[in-house]
């Protein structure tokens, strides 16, 4: 049964290749919000928060027929997050700005009218975590206490001893950090045929990492997965005749 299904699909695709196949190349850019799917275990007053980022890519599309194509978007994307403390430790945080080079590969389904069309994308991606930047404030055990009156009361520990501020490149730990990320994606959007060869599009896309940001280096490890929600716009240029 599986073989028959596969053969059927291949026949449909093959049948449309000669009459409709065409390449398109474009440029896209977007804004994203990245959530870390994890938890902070029994750490009190500590939580992971989403952070904003951006992406820029060069989409390449191979259209097989009027409703189906294959698309790849080599891109640079920031998938950031923040670990933040609350309560008496308010003001202590670390923002992790993570940069990835990513290659989404997806099936592109088109539907709708002649100029204005709807589409959705389904596929997977592979990414490489190229760099990470950390910025934050931590408690400083060697900090010089502020001079405060004896009856001074504050809601924040940092009012008693100033924190240590930092803004620096993160050095990857090869024992812990998994820099290859694999995942799946789904997106939907609209495109508009501006000129015969030019097409504008806007898309909302969701990237779901299926690989932990950490290698399996310890028992009872709490995994960390990126969940990235992207809104992006772009323009495609049709190549060939």
């Amino acid at each position: 049964m599986k073989k028959k299904c596969l053969l059927f699909v291949l026949c449909i695709i093959a049948g449309t290749l000669t009459s409709h196949a065409q390449w398109s190349l474009g440029l896209e850019a977007g804004y994203n919000k990245n959530y870390l799917f994890t938890n902070s275990g029994f750490r009190a007053f500590t939580g992971y928060k989403p952070e904003e980022g951006f992406n820029i890519g060069i989409p390449v599309k191979y259209t097989l027929n009027d409703w189906f194509g294959v698309q790849a978007d080599p891109q640079f994307i920031r998938k950031s997050n923040r670990i933040e403390r609350s309560g008496f430790f308010e003001g202590v945080y670390q923002k992790n700005t993570n940069s990835y080079i990513q290659l989404p590969l997806m099936a592109h389904f088109t539907f709708g009218g002649h100029k204005l069309k709807g589409f959705f994308n389904l596929g997977g991606y592979a990414g490489y975590w190229t760099a990470s930047h950390i910025k934050g404030t931590q408690l400083d055990v060697f900090g010089q206490p502020n001079v405060v009156p004896d009856d001074f009361q504050s809601k924040r520990y940092l009012d008693y001893i100033p924190g240590y501020n930092y803004d620096e490149q993160y050095n990857f730990d090869s024992r812990r950090d998994r820099r290859i990320e694999l995942g799946v994606l789904a997106g939907t959007g609209v495109s508009y045929q501006l000129k015969p060869r030019y097409e504008l599009f806007a898309e909302g896309r969701y990237y779901r990492a299926l690989t932990d940001q950490q290698k399996n280096y310890m028992l009872s490890q709490i995994p960390r997965y990126n969940d990235t929600f992207v809104i992006q716009v772009g323009c495609m240029y049709r190549l060939g005749k």
Binding site: F8, T38, R43, P223, Y225
Partner: protein, 393 residues
């Protein structure tokens, strides 16, 4: 049909490929109704709170695999098994690098055999050349009349918890300032609302430091000093510098993972009020029983911007990770379980300004002068004599 198949495939993949998030409970929340729970609570506490996994030789996963089945076979209400557990805990912690580390088991069955398990203490006592603390009376009663000029000051202060602080200060050859004290409670004693001789001794030292013209040097004696309050660093070493300077860095846990750390945070000495830079030679005396704040003070003196400190004596103990009583502050460090009345462990990891971590290794002296029991028994202090000889007249 094709679209539907793809959708089903994707949805199935998406929902099944992630690992589940484990529920990890706070060690204090476990009920030690049996040994499996007691071990689990302790193992998890260590797994997530211990600060030295980055450099520790212990394979904590192997500990789980080996001891979990052993504890599962034991009965927590059986005195023989409880004593056996003491042996197991001693074995599994024997190589932990944290020199502050100590386990206190909360059971009437082991109270008689030992109050706590201290892996570093056991290793320390087995090292070649080991000796116990220099007798406090040597500092208090032998050194002053033999080495200090007349007019020296000394005093003792007893605390309500049963501990005792003492300090000795004076001059040698009329131009070398000497200070010894047995623990770092300087700020408490110095600021004590009730006048006492220990306070008088510290006041003498700071007055002489600030007001004596032509001091040729200082000898800071932290031998056999078990440490104490970090806040004393700025009071004691901050009195020797007019500007803030770095002695190294510390880092704490940055998450639940063993290798989740904050970045290295600059560890600084801040100048005391009205302090002037002391540029004449400083000799710090420390020995293999100088630990924690005594080591940090030795490091801080060595790191003075003037570069005028020489460390004489023996390699220190090697326990210089700062401790905070509440593990919520730095998301790591000491904790309790139902079965352990205390798992005493460092909150932060420290590295010296040379980039090295001396935890478990000890800080090495510039001039090694070994402990000499016969000399001390005869009232002679070769380490102090060496220190004096290093300060030119």
């Amino acid at each position: 049909m094709f679209r539907a198949a793809v959708c089903i495939l994707i949805i199935t993949t998406v929902t099944s490929c992630r690992k589940e998030l484990p529920q990890i409970n706070q060690p204090e929340r476990y009920i030690s109704g049996n040994f499996s729970e007691a071990f689990e609570a302790y193992w998890n506490g260590m797994n997530n709170n211990y600060i030295f996994w980055d450099i520790d030789p212990t394979n904590w996963d192997d500990v789980y695999k080996k001891y979990k089945p052993l504890f599962a076979q034991m009965n927590i209400n059986d005195s023989t098994d409880v004593r056996k557990s003491y042996t197991y805990f001693k074995e599994m912690t024997s190589q932990l690098v944290d020199s502050h580390y100590a386990l206190q088991i909360n059971s009437k069955y082991v109270k008689d055999s030992a109050t706590y398990i201290s892996p570093s203490g056991i290793r320390h006592s087995k090292q070649p050349g080991y000796h116990g603390n220099i007798n406090p009376n040597f500092f208090y009663s032998t050194i002053p009349p033999k080495y200090l000029d007349p007019g020296y000051v000394k005093g003792v202060l007893n605390f309500s918890d049963g501990s005792q602080f003492f300090a000795v200060a004076g001059k040698i050859k009329n131009n070398i300032l000497y200070l010894h004290f047995n623990s770092f409670r300087l700020k408490t004693v110095y600021g004590s609302p009730t006048p006492n001789n220990a306070q008088k001794t510290l006041k003498y030292y700071f007055d002489q430091l600030q007001n004596t013209a032509g001091l040729k040097g200082i000898i800071m004696d932290v031998r056999s000093n078990g440490g104490g309050a970090l806040a004393d660093l700025d009071l004691l070493v901050g009195a020797l510098t007019d500007k803030s300077y770095s002695i190294g860095a510390t880092r704490s846990k940055g998450g639940m993972g063993r290798l989740d750390y904050t970045p290295w945070i600059d560890a600084r000495v801040h100048p005391a009020k009205d302090a002037k830079a002391f540029t004449a030679p400083i000799v710090v005396l420390a020995d293999l029983n100088s630990v924690s704040m005594a080591e940090m003070t030795t490091m801080a003196l060595k790191a003075l911007p003037a570069g005028n400190t020489t460390f004489v004596g023996e390699r220190t103990w090697g326990g210089n990770g700062p401790l905070v009583g509440n593990d919520d502050f730095y998301n790591g460090g000491q904790f309790k379980t139902d079965f352990m009345s205390l798992v005493y462990t460092s909150t932060l990891m420290m590295r010296y300004k040379d980039g090295k971590i001396y935890e478990g290794l000890g800080f090495p002296p510039d001039v090694e002068v070994k402990y000499n029991k016969a000399a001390l028994d005869a009232g002679i202090d070769p380490q102090l004599e060496k220190a004096i000889s290093l300060i030119p007249q």
